[in-house]
Assembly symmetry: C2
Homo-oligomer: 389 residues x 2
């Protein structure tokens, strides 16, 4: 739904364009200590955030964009003119795009225990942060945080920014968990949620998969019970965790396109255990690069937060969904191997049965779960229509 | 298709019954050194096998039952009267069952590098075996073996047993790879194959998943480059690998049935990282018990053999399938997360297009890949009909 202008009796769609202003990462610090939903205290909470567009006088044109597991507040645009990559959902952000920078005040926020502690820009509070009580990194002594804690920190930020009502919360994967949680926790403040490649709960299968992600790290002796700061870090374990995550987030169809090519033309995998397939070389490189920017304990905390998630913190999914009255758009991925479309169809049916307005559309593409990140452009018009309703 | 008897003009189905004779594990040693398809030499190859039923005079009523990744030759029956468990496909083996012990000579064979080195009964040759050249375990110096090597060892055994023709080869998962490979490698000897939860190739997605299984072991410092024999073994890495394998072999539907119960009633997972969900406790126990019977290097070698697999050892799936002329029955599992039904539909279409007689039926159940093991009873009649054609 591009912006429209009427010229000489013709209705013309103005071309949609990416957001070209530079983005500034800002830092938000909560007033006083924060008490987690688990009842523990974090003396000082700081998280990064970035905004695009302008908040209107009524404070009700804001759209919050919480991020996925390995993401950050950087959902669109560039920090510098020569940035190679743009924010992850740049395809649907800009003038005339679904997340229309002419209409909405868009806000991305770094989560607690954000993964990207070493990218030079993410601001987060987690196990790698200094515990004021000891002047050393928390490590595994950092309180166990939950999705609801991420939401509560965002709420404090929105209050400070003067946001009175959220036109929408839109997020992918772990970001969708936060969207669901917003609607359940602050129903009066949220008009709409858009849950992309979402999960409203973790079933046993997902719980155990998430535990694999975090526990492979603990096999690496350099992990050292989480106390590795200032010494060698558990890069092998962290890289393995990121390999698991990346593969789980892809799909067999993606694999088909990669085939059985060898990593090196003269090194037949059939000849030696160390000879790799091209896909294996690709994973080593991609996961290794990612690991260099990440903190192992933060990955453990994020995985645990996702294990613990069931919307609304209730004992059943049905009960948790009951509080959701916001208009809801569900955008699962057809071939998601991680958060299954089937589970989201169940959420759709439960919401519809209780009278919550709910729409559903499946994303397509060969990338499995990642269709909700790299393939989001296909949903631009659907999201624009939903936001205009 | 139960055995039929005609009594007073009525056709009665005799009740099918499990095989109640006791099974004897036998040992087969190849004559002289074996040269792998990779061109390396194993001085002495010994594998275990077990048979049920009798070979006919023509030597053409044999059915070979190669096993899945974590399996053994023990496909049915009991070794001793007080055995708690029966062989993995006991449900379809016996008088009047699909693998009819009154009609067929059934043969199970332990693979090379079989996982179950410590169960007290499996006989195999692999990294844990003593290298006669050094009088020490091979460790990672054991030659890289492939599915075709498993088949070649079986061929030598069948020759010794006097089997001239295989009425069928039937196997699940890695066993199905061997069934495909038999049909491609020895087309004149194989009348039928039944490929259960099968994969005729590994695509990039599968290749990388298998590498995870084996490489998590190498994170454990006790693995020590594969030289752990006589010292502490990498049980943490091995247990983690078995957890990955077990979860990958299940399905989200299974997870739904397990729910979000806690492992211990007074230990809320939200309260501490060490507090587990019931599913996590189950995995620890199941994988730990399995690890106690298994060898870590053997797991590495088996995973690698599966990575390397493409039927017929050809450069494309199409080319590999071309040699298969045996009547083929494909039994994938509808919700298999490991070897996808979709990939097997492609194999079906390729076989049909080249004129190979092929039938296809999907297995049902909540267990994903494991529907092909625990849920095999549902295919009893289909298999019986196919074997009678």
């Amino acid at each position: 739904m591009a912006a429209l202008s009427v010229v000489a009796g013709l209705v013309l769609a103005a071309p949609a364009s990416a957001y070209e202003g530079l983005i500034t990462k800002q830092s938000f610090e909560m007033d006083g200590p924060y008490t987690t939903v688990g009842g523990e205290t974090i003396a000082k909470v700081r998280v990064g955030f970035e905004t695009i567009g302008n908040l209107n006088a009524a404070g009700d044109n804001a759209i919050l964009v919480p991020h996925f597991f390995s993401g950050s507040s950087h959902f669109a645009g560039r920090y510098k003119d020569d940035d190679k990559a743009r924010g992850y959902w740049d395809a649907i952000v800009g003038s005339g795009k679904a997340l229309d920078t002419d209409k909405y005040f868009l806000i991305g926020v770094d989560s607690l225990a954000n993964l990207n502690t070493k990218d030079g820009i993410t601001v987060t509070t987690g196990p790698a942060s200094i515990d004021p009580a000891t002047a050393k990194p928390y490590g595994m002594r950092f309180p166990q945080v939950q999705i609801r804690d991420f939401v509560n920190v965002q709420k404090a930020l929105l209050d400070k920014l003067g946001v009175r009502k959220l036109h929408a919360v839109i997020g992918a994967s772990m970001g969708a968990m936060q969207a669901y949680e917003w609607a359940a926790a602050y129903p009066g403040m949220v008009d709409r949620i858009i849950a992309v490649i979402p999960g409203a709960t973790q079933d046993a299968y997902g719980i155990e998969r998430l535990r694999h992600w975090r526990q492979v790290i603990t096999l690496d002796p350099k992990w050292n019970g989480g106390d590795y700061y200032g010494g060698p870090e558990p890069m092998d374990g962290l890289t393995m965790a990121l390999r698991l995550i990346t593969l789980d987030a892809l799909a067999p169809e993606w694999g088909e396109s990669q085939g059985r090519k060898w990593a090196e033309a003269d090194k037949d995998p059939a000849k030696a255990m160390g000879n790799a397939y091209a896909v294996q070389g690709w994973f080593d490189k991609a996961a290794g690069a990612r690991a260099a920017l990440s903190d192992a304990n933060h990955l453990i905390y994020l995985a645990r937060a996702c294990e613990l998630f069931q919307v609304g913190g209730k004992s059943s999914l049905e009960e948790g969904l009951r509080a959701i009255r916001a208009k809801t758009l569900l955008l699962p991925s057809r071939n998601d191997q991680l958060l299954y479309a089937e589970a989201t169809r169940k959420v759709r049916d439960l919401l519809a049965a209780q009278g919550t307005p709910v729409a559903y559309q499946e994303l397509d593409g060969p990338m499995g779960h990642l269709n909700g990140v790299g393939g989001i452009a296909q949903a631009n018009d659907r999201i624009a229509r939903f936001l205009a309703q």
